[in-house]
């Protein structure tokens, strides 16, 4: 995973991008929450929520192939994390894979976790495929993320590029001076590089702060863009949210 992903995704205008970023973040959270909290065995509801997410991906013109490619990496992580479920669950053994036994209860949990994880990842893929980092930031601020966090992220975006540039420069310089070397040597080198980057990050913070003060900064980043909530966007977000919540609620009906 590279930070350069922050800028990688081309945006295509669609009914989804016409919803302000705050609405997209809100919708993503609602979908992810609804999916992640489905009770065990609610396969029908899981299928319905997957359908909602896939429909939104289609409306946003995200090609299925792209969506699947973006899904692969995080899903791989989930798979790794949940494999253990197959064997640590006590219960009736279903099959033996070499020395360990897969239990029926374990397989059940595993299927449920993987299903929920996969479907909950879909709205997240939708969000990154439709929203640039600056937009996301704007959305988060409208959703009242703590001011300090929003300010930190707002500045971190630029600083990240500068910090990584510095890191790569230091690494190149170090490599050109010491080719090879043992593990201890390499460890010391990387520590030195990381610490130097840290020092420079603080220097940069000071200078950025001076530049901000010079332009009248008083502790909070002002917001330039007012959110453009159209009547239609509100209706769309509300409709999707109500649909999703209804599906989620139906899974808990007795």
């Amino acid at each position: 995973m590279s930070f350069r992903h922050l800028d990688r995704f081309a945006q295509v205008r669609s009914p989804v991008t016409r919803v302000p970023a705050a609405g997209r973040v809100f919708g993503t959270v609602v979908l992810a929450l609804a999916t992640a909290t489905l009770p065990a065995g609610a396969w029908v509801q899981l299928g319905l929520l997957a359908a909602v997410s896939l429909a939104l991906l289609a409306i946003a013109h995200v090609p299925l192939r792209v969506a699947l490619a973006r899904l692969a990496w995080p899903l791989g992580l989930v798979l790794l994390a949940s494999l253990a479920l197959l064997v640590v669950m006590p219960g009736e053994p279903l099959a033996r894979l070499g020395p360990v036994a897969v239990t029926a209860q374990g397989a059940d949990r595993f299927a449920m976790v993987m299903g929920r994880a996969m479907v909950a990842l879909l709205p997240a893929v939708l969000l990154v495929s439709t929203t640039s980092f600056p937009e996301l930031l704007q959305g988060l601020r409208e959703l009242r993320v703590p001011v300090a966090v929003a300010t930190a992220l707002g500045l971190a975006y630029r600083l990240l590029y500068l910090t990584v540039d510095e890191l790569e420069r230091l690494q190149r310089a170090a490599r050109s001076r010491h080719a090879g070397g043992g593990v201890t040597r390499r460890r010391h080198l990387i520590t030195a590089i990381a610490a130097a980057t840290l020092g420079r990050a603080f220097v940069r913070a000071e200078r950025t702060h001076a530049a901000m003060l010079a332009r009248g900064f008083r502790g909070t980043l002002p917001l330039l863009h007012a959110p453009v909530w159209t009547y239609r966007a509100v209706l769309n977000v509300a409709a999707v949210s109500i649909l999703v919540l209804a599906v989620a609620a139906s899974a808990r009906l007795p």
Binding site: D7, R158, L159, R207, T208, L213, R215, G216, L224
Partner: protein
């Protein structure tokens, strides 16, 4: 007529004890264009930062429009004295160029619509209109310089203070920046090592050597005096 900016025996030591400025005194009048010269480490950047209250003199005072710079007046002072930093990366800290340019006006209480209009106008004037929604790391070095200038011009200061504006620019971008500055009506104070850049742009020169003001007079006279230039460390 009161001077736009007046430095009264400004002395400055960095918190770690490094002496940077020693009883520097001069004035700049409205509309005047002044070059600030001096070898590296002479204190140019330090002096520029003390002009808008980012650094407070250890002794002496800075007056802007006849008003001493202190905690009460500093906000107003910063609106009148616009500082462009030596490194544009320090000055472009927001995710998009437009936000960076609008930062000053918004802090000064402009409405969003007004800030956006003014920012677009400044970017347009500097030829950066097409880049308004880009992040600074997607701009070229020359564009970044101009962008840093835009963030200051938008607040319509009376004095433009530029620190090393032509550093790392190619000939064409340097030319373009110089032409833009030549058309401005604000007073200018340009710290630089690039003598060609200020020749013809500025009429007056201040020379700092080891924190002391060594020369205050016509730029042409200075540039014509090879021996003096060498003594100040301005030519090799």
């Amino acid at each position: 007529m009161t001077a736009l900016v007046q430095a009264r025996d400004v002395t400055y030591h960095y918190p770690d004890g490094t002496p940077a400025l020693d009883t520097v005194a001069f004035t700049v009048a409205a509309g005047e264009r002044v070059a600030l010269l001096g070898p590296t480490g002479a204190g140019k950047s330090t002096l520029l930062q003390s002009l808008n209250g980012l650094l407070r003199p250890s002794a002496g005072a800075v007056l802007v429009g006849g008003v001493a710079v202190n905690d009460e007046t500093v906000t107003a002072v910063r609106r009148r004295v616009g500082l462009v930093f030596q490194n544009p990366d320090d000055q472009l800290f927001l995710p998009s160029l437009l936000e960076d340019v609008a930062f000053g006006p918004l802090n000064a209480g402009a409405s969003r619509a007004e800030a956006a209009t003014r920012s677009h106008a400044v970017l347009e004037a500097l030829g950066l209109a097409a880049a308004h929604d880009r992040a600074a790391h997607h701009l070229s070095g020359g564009e970044r310089r101009l962008a840093a200038l835009a963030t200051v011009l938008v607040s319509q200061p009376d004095l433009l203070v530029l620190d090393e504006p032509s550093g790392d620019l190619d000939a064409r971008s340097r030319r373009r920046l110089r032409d833009i500055l030549a058309e401005r009506r604000e007073a200018l104070l340009v710290a630089t090592h690039d003598l060609e850049f200020v020749r013809g742009l500025c009429s007056r020169a201040l020379v700092l050597v080891a924190g002391k003001l060594a020369w205050d007079g016509a730029l042409d006279v200075l540039l014509a005096d090879r021996a003096m230039m060498e003594r100040f460390g301005l030519v090799a």
